[in-house]
Structure formats: C-alpha cells, structure tokens
Amino acid sequence: MTAAPLPPQPVLRLSGISKSFPGVRALSDVQLDLYAGQVTALIGENGAGKSTIVKVLTGIYQPDAGRIEVDGAQVQFPTADAAARAGVTAIHQETVLFDELTVAENIFLGHAPRTRLGLIDWVAMEAQARALLDRIGADLDPRLTLRELGIASKHLVAIARALSIDARVVIMDEPTAALSHKEIHELYELVERLKAEGKAILFISHKFDEIFRIADRYTVFRDGAFIGAGAMADVTEGQLVQMMVGRSVDQIFPKRAHNIGAPVLTVAGYSHPTEFEDINFTLHRGEILGFYGLVGAGRSEVMQALFGITKPSKGACRIGDGVAVIRSTAEAIAQGIVYVPEDRGKQGAVKGLPIFQNVTLPSLSRTSRGGFLRMAEEFKLARDYTRRLDLRAASLDQDVGLLSGGNQQKVVIAKWLATKPRVIILDEPTKGIDIGSKAAVHDFMAELAAEGLAVIMVSSEIPEILGMSDRVIVMREGRIAAELTGSDMTPERLVRAAAGIAEAA
C-alpha cells in the first residue's frame, strides 16, 4: 500500500488535548490529525485513551485543554449535535441505532425530508435512502426494520446515515470486531469507497493485519499520551508494537516467592459452541496464572464456564483428585472455585442487605443447620473475614449500599474468601480503581497465593499481567494463542500473541 501524497492541511486537527477524570488522567497533551481521503489508524492498548479521544471528537466529553481545528479554524464541540453539524460522525462497535425503526428511518432520524405540511415525506425518504445505500454498494431494502438485519448490515446503515448528514470525518471504532471474513472484506471495500469520496477516516483496531491492509497513516497512544504518528509505509509491525507497549514508568509489584505446589485444577479440552474451543491448562497451589487477551478474546467466557454459569459442550476438568462436572454455580462453589466478576457493582454486592448477610450469602450451608440460620455463626464468619481485609464500617449490620466503592469491594472479596476456596478467579481485579487501591489488591493477591490458594487473574493490563503472574496464557478469538513463562513473558510477545502477529524474524 502506497501512501497518498500528504494534502497540505488536515480536515481535522486536535492538538494539546488533555482530559482528566477524578483520579485518572485519561489524555495528556495528545495530538491527532485526520486528512481528507486518507485512513488514519489509531493504535494503542486498552486504556491508552482511544475511546476518550473519540468521545472528545464527537462532543460527548469536553477536553480540559487543547484545540480542535476544522479546516484550520478553531472550533468547539460542546454537544454531540455540534460535532455532527461540523461533519464528524462515529460508527461504534455496537452500533447505536433503533432496532424497531426501518432502515430509512434510522438513516434520516432527526433530518427526515418533510412534505409541505411538515409531515415526514416517506416517498422521498425511501428514495433518498435507496440512493445512499446504492452509493455505498449496500443491497438493502430501506423498508426493512433494523431488527431483521445482521450486525454487518447495521454498520452499513450507520455509514449511510453518516453520508446522509454529509459527514467529512468518519470514525470507525473496531468496526470489524463482530464481523465474518466476508463481511470484513466488504467493509474494506466500503472504506476504499469513502476514501475515494474524500472522507477523512479514523480507524480504530487491534488487528495489525487490517491496519496494514487499509490504513494510510497511524497514530499511537500509550497511557493517554501521544507516542508517534506517521505514514504506514514507513513503519513495520515490530516498530508499532514497540511504540504501543514500551513503558516509561514501571509500577512496583509485590515481591513473591514462587512456591508452586501440586496441581489443583486441570482443564482438558473445554469447548463451547460459540465462545471458545479446546482450552487446556493446569493450575497449581500457590500459583498466579494470568489470562491475557484483547477484549472479546473469550477469557471471561472460559471463566464463567469454569464457574458453572455457562456450560461447556465438550471437555472435563479435574479439581484436586476427582474429575468434576460443574453444572451449576452452587457446585463450583462446593468444589472450591469462586469467581470475582469484573462488574462488581452489578454482579457483586446485594445492596439492601447488611454487610454480614452479604458476606455469608455463598456460605449459608455452613452457617445454617437444617435450613435455619445461626446468627452467631454468621456474625463470626463476617467478622473474621472483614477484619482481615481491614473493612471500615460502623457495624456489620450496616447496609452494604451505604459503603464506599472500595469498601464494597472488600465485602465482595470477604464473601468469596469466607467460602474457603481452593481456586479464586479474579476478573479484571483492578479495573477502574485508583493506584493506591490497585497496590492493595496486588499485595492481597500475593498473600493469597502465598497461603496456597490457586489464583487465576484475567487482566487486560500488560504491566499487571507481567508483574503479578507466574505464568501467562494468552487467548485470541476463543482459543489459547500462547502460554508464556519466565523470560518469554515480555510485552512484545504478549501483544503479538494476542493480536495474532507472527514472531519477529
């Protein structure tokens, strides 16, 4: 792919953009240029600031500092509508459209052609919709409701909508994540068409093959900072990976003695019809096993199957000595497996119940006799585990909903530890919490492993994965792409395995 000669002036230029949220600096002095008729790939790890910049571009977030220029003139996007009127439109991973409306209505919602009476001119709207769909080579009936369409067709509708408002900048946020090979190919053709029409395209993707296939230029972000930009023709995969993962500051992780004991959990040939295939691994006492992969690689799905929430179609697992078939969550807990889910707000604490009742919820069989609860036992269990986690609360009778986020999380962890598990699965244990709490969670994980628990940590953060794990399994598209130990555990190898890039020659 040869890069087109650089037009003199970008259609859209962001410079010096910074954006902070309480406790997090999401973007720090970043820049981004988009040129007419060119595809710019935005590359970065999870948490690099890609979604934040998209939200700044589409008027959802206001930057704390920095300039946005359209055709060299400074502009502001105080609302999503202002961004749309300036010609910036985004096509999201999960397209934001209305399932119950027709294709034509979705394309023209908010700017439908009107009759003289001010009513919607259906004839004109359908004709114009058909013309737009033809322009992008989409063979869709504008009268179909969106619910009847597949995800790829929905993307086409979103793109037609972008054209209908005469967008000049089209942002595609991982558009191929949910598409089949054929659909991806059609999307590439469409991107070429949009380029030919002179649109400036921002293309966000984790897949290096497609970046090299369709992008003209690249911009790399890391940890909310601008790392570099240039023409795709001047860069290699290796250089991009290096830019993505190179670390300026190393976080401090707890020092751990690597005391790996006997196998606790052996998973053999776990498969699911749609989510994952042929998962094999062995977990040992005192081990922290990291699971790395891109979002949607199937890591959480495997964990949910291990925990009995979904059922694998094939495969078995061995816990301790016996072969176990885990058919329900209750069985998993009885076998000593617990899962601390990613969304602790939604899946963790039961607000409305007091602290002690939250802690004992999965352990009720131990704190009751013949179905009747023994309050003294409950309080004792709750006291033991919340004290260990240094929970700050007025009393154990207090409603969990009244605690701060960090303390709620302690209640959730206490709840799981109180079941005396052999295997604890932590899904993104430090996502969305501040640096101080992260360190506390890391120390705590090290402590658990030192006590002989087997820990599985699912994480998308490379420093955390490398800093905490004894061993890392990398998943890609529902399969195990690599298992890395010792000196093989490098950022480059993780990213290569997760993105499906062959090892550097």
């Binding site: 925990f307 929430i309 329900s328 969550t329 209750a330 998993a332 807990i333 899962y339 889910p341 969304d343 939604k346 899946q347 963790g348 604490a349 039961v350 607000k351 409305g352 119940l353 009742q357 919820l361 999965p362 009720l364 069989s365 009751s368 179905g371 009747f372 609860l373 700050r392 609360a393 007025a394 207090q398 909903g401 009244l402 605690l403 701060s404 303390n407 709840k415």
Partner: protein, 324 residues
C-alpha cells in the same frame, strides 16, 4: 429514638393508631377490644395473602392470580365438602391445590421465562374460568355446606377466631422463614441483586418459582377460610382482591422492585386497609370513599418510599460513611 422514628414500620403503626384515635373521637365504640378483635378477624385473609404476595414481590415478581387461586381452591373445597370428604382432608387439599396453581405460575416464569405480570394476568383469568367449568357457573350456598365446614373459621379460641389464629401462625412462620432461614435470605438476595445472586450460587428462577408456590399455597388455604366464613362459593369470590393484597404490600413498604420488605410492614399495611374498610361504614362514609382513601394511601406510601430512597444518595465523604 431518631432511628426508630425513621423506621417505616413504626411510622405506619403510628399512622394506624392516629387513624384509630380520630375514629374514636366520634365513635368510641370502634376501639372497644371486642370491635378491634372483629377488625382483626375480618382482616385475617388479607394478612395471609399479603405475606405470600410479599415473598413473591421480594423476588422481583408479582402474583396477580392470588384472588383467582383463592376462589378456585375455595370452590373445590366447597365441592369436596358437598361430596362428603372430611374437613381434615379438605384443608390439606386446598393447601396443596393452591401450591400446585402457584407452581404453574412459578414454572412459567422460571422455565418459559415469561414476565410474571403476564403469566399471572393469564392464569388469573384461566383459574376463574376453571371455576366456571367445574361449577357450571352455579353458586354453592350456605345450606349446601356442612356445619363443621362453615364453623371452623369462626370458632372462637381464647377470644379470637380460628381464622385469626391461622393468620397469626402464618405471620410467625413468615417471620421465621424470612429472617431465620437460608431460603428466606435467598429471596432477599434474588430481588436485591439477581446478578450477584447467580454468582453466589443461587438459582434465581427457582427461588422465584418457590415464592409463587408459597403464595399459591397461602391463597389455597385462604380459599377454604374465605368460602367457609362467608358460607358461599361462586365464580367471582374475592373478585379484584388481588389489588388489595398488592396494595397492602406497597403500603407496608415492600419495594415493588424487589429485595426489600418486612413481615411487620406487610402485616401493618394489611391492617391499615382493614381499619379503613371497617371504619368507614361506621363513620357513615360511602364505601366509594374507601377506594379513594386506600388509593391515596398507596400513592402516599410509594412517594414516601421513593423519597427515602432518594434522600440516601451517594456517600462520598469519608466522614459521612461512618455516620450512616
């Protein structure tokens, strides 16, 4: 003291006492012990049904078929009595039939995944239809019932009717179930956070089905009591009563979104409605006002609950966390 005043149950109890005081200023006879006993006797069915309904609502469901279940079980009980079946068998039969009808609701919600309001709206009509089919639309009147069948609910034991003693037993049972058993705890967990409940090994659908079975069984029991007490069984027995039952729960502070409520609240909610229903004729107010008054009570109770929920807000300050 402050905390006590904030409790919904205490406020509701005070409201009932205030209501009684106002009535007493004009009709002192209303608060005579004998009359209050009558009010309680009269409210007993509502209390029993409200406790069953509360368990269902705790799990984020609603049972609109309670009154129809009651009527069907009552009709079957009356027909069994007519066929010469002894009372000792009729009572368990009504209970089991009610539980089975509840199980139909529960299974449709659990296994077929139909929203509870739709399921019970459907079964409500179906159960009434079944009464028509088995009775040919005919009434079973007092003279067709045996004396033993009719007398049991009204038999006085230590100054209270047997029906009231049964209501007291159900109150006690519900209290133990909800506060002292693993099953009861699970109901709260399912309604409070279904996602979290799944992750703690609780089967949400199964708990909801169990709640429907309990509600159905209590409705079945009440079916016998109702038909025997009023000595008549027909298709429209307790027509529309399901709304009173839900109203008692709502007034008693049972959160319609599930996960919150107390036995005391549901009982007081039922008593509140019972006092209004019994007092209005005495005071000489048209029964139509009764509907308006209980309707207003529902709205006030819900507004009050919403206000309490809102006032809580987020606690960000560390100092506030300890105060809470």
């Amino acid at each position: 003291m402050n905390r006590l005043l904030k409790s919904r149950e205490v406020l509701l109890a005070l409201a009932i006492l205030a209501l009684l005081a106002v009535i007493a200023t004009r009709f002192p006879a209303f608060i005579a012990p004998g009359n209050l006993t009558n009010v309680f006797n009269d409210t007993a069915p509502l209390i029993i049904l409200a406790l069953g309904q509360m368990i269902v609502i705790l799990t984020k469901c609603i049972d609109l078929s309670v009154a129809a279940t009651l009527a069907l079980c009552g009709m079957v009980a009356a027909m069994l009595d007519g066929a010469g079946v002894p009372l000792a068998l009729i009572l368990p039969a009504a209970l089991v039939l009610g539980a089975a009808l509840g199980a139909v609701n529960g299974l449709l919600v659990w296994k077929v995944d139909i929203p509870p309001i739709v399921v019970t709206l459907g079964t409500m009509t179906i159960y009434r239809g079944i009464i028509f089919l088995i009775s040919d639309g005919r009434w079973i009147n007092a003279h067709q019932m045996t004396a033993g069948f009719k007398d049991l609910p009204r038999t006085e034991v230590l100054g209270l009717h047997v029906m009231s003693w049964i209501a007291l037993a159900v109150i006690g049972g519900a209290y133990v179930l909800l506060n002292r058993t693993a099953l009861g705890r699970s109901f709260f967990a399912v309604g409070g956070n279904p996602h979290a409940a799944v992750y703690t090994g609780i089967d949400v659908g199964r708990m909801q089905a169990v709640a429907f079975v309990l509600s159905g069984a209590l409705a079945g029991l009440t079916g016998y009591l109702w038909v025997a007490r009023y000595a008549v069984a027909y298709v429209d027995v307790a027509g529309g009563f399901e709304l009173d039952v839900v109203a008692a729960c709502v007034i008693g502070g049972v959160a319609i979104a599930g996960g919150a409520g107390s036995v005391a609240g549901a009982v007081l909610g039922a008593l509140f409605l019972g006092v209004i229903k019994n007092a209005l004729p005495v005071v000489g107010i048209s029964p139509f006002w009764q509907l308006a008054i209980s309707g207003s009570a529902i709205i006030i109770a819900v507004a009050f609950n919403a206000r309490q929920g809102r006032a809580r807000g987020r606690i960000i300050l560390k100092s506030a966390e300890h105060r809470a």
